[in-house]
């Protein structure tokens, strides 16, 4: 669909907007609907949209597979790492109150980090599934 001018232009307009909106969903999740999972799915949808319009080989150059692999693991590591950090600071596993001087502030910070971890892992997994499925292509040039 690279040859389709209309779709290409709209994709250029839309993908940044989708990504910014995903960030809004991610960081506004404390106040309104949204959170890590939803934001991760939206980011993945933006990149999948890129792959739909420009083709998978191009998207693989923009977001290489090793980056997706690192995202896959690093999100859950951030999550568990916050838990370990709270343990090291002398509280229970995933008890964020010790992350700042004030318990409520620490909770807020912990929730922020944890949601970030969720978002990164979800993006990674969704993208990985798409790459794996769409990459098993019959046409010779889509995977090189």
């Amino acid at each position: 669909m690279r040859g389709d001018l209309v779709l290409r232009v709209i994709a250029k307009l839309l993908i940044p907007f989708i990504l910014v909106f995903a960030l809004y969903v991610q960081f506004h999740g404390d106040f309104g609907p949204g959170g890590g999972f939803q934001a991760g799915v939206i980011v993945a949808a933006a990149i999948i949209f890129h792959a739909l319009i420009y083709g998978l080989p191009m998207t693989r150059r923009v977001v290489p597979e090793w980056v997706v692999e690192i995202m896959l693991a690093s999100g859950i590591l951030i999550f568990a790492g916050v838990g370990v950090a709270t343990m090291l600071l002398g509280a229970n596993f995933l008890d964020y109150s010790v992350l700042a001087h004030e318990p409520a502030h620490g909770q807020h910070r912990g929730i922020f980090l944890v949601e970030l971890g969720v978002g990164i892992t979800v993006t990674g997994v969704m993208l990985m599934i798409f790459y794996m499925f769409a990459g098993r292509s019959r046409s010779p040039h889509s995977e090189k």
């Binding site: 939206i42 949209f49 739909l52």
Partner: protein, 102 residues
């Protein structure tokens, strides 16, 4: 008044659903799904106003953004039979010959 708008949108949604069920081609169904996505977006906004909590338009925006991704995915699958295919540039022959480029 928002109730009336919601009722009208529900009836429209039912119409779109009926078209999606009736077909006959897949394009009809896709068109109906796309329209029902639009109607559902509007319905979300109207319900938000009806229950006096219009802050939830975020969901309508998510809908709108992802609806287009889904529709384009279906159409691409139809045209190229493959989701990752880059397709051909305008100066090259249109389709089914993408294996020969490069």
């Amino acid at each position: 008044m928002f109730e009336a708008a919601a009722a009208a949108l529900l009836i429209s949604l039912a119409g779109a659903l009926a078209r999606a069920l009736a077909g006959p081609t897949v394009f009809d169904r896709t068109q109906a799904a796309n329209s029902s996505g639009t109607i559902a977006m509007l319905l979300l906004a109207v319900i938000g106003f009806m229950t006096d909590r219009p802050d939830f338009l975020d969901i309508a925006i998510v809908y709108g953004l992802l609806n287009v991704v889904g529709t384009i995915a279906v159409l691409k699958f139809f045209r190229y039979g493959d989701l990752g295919d880059p397709g051909s540039m305008p100066d090259e022959p249109d389709k089914q010959q993408s294996g020969e480029m490069k």
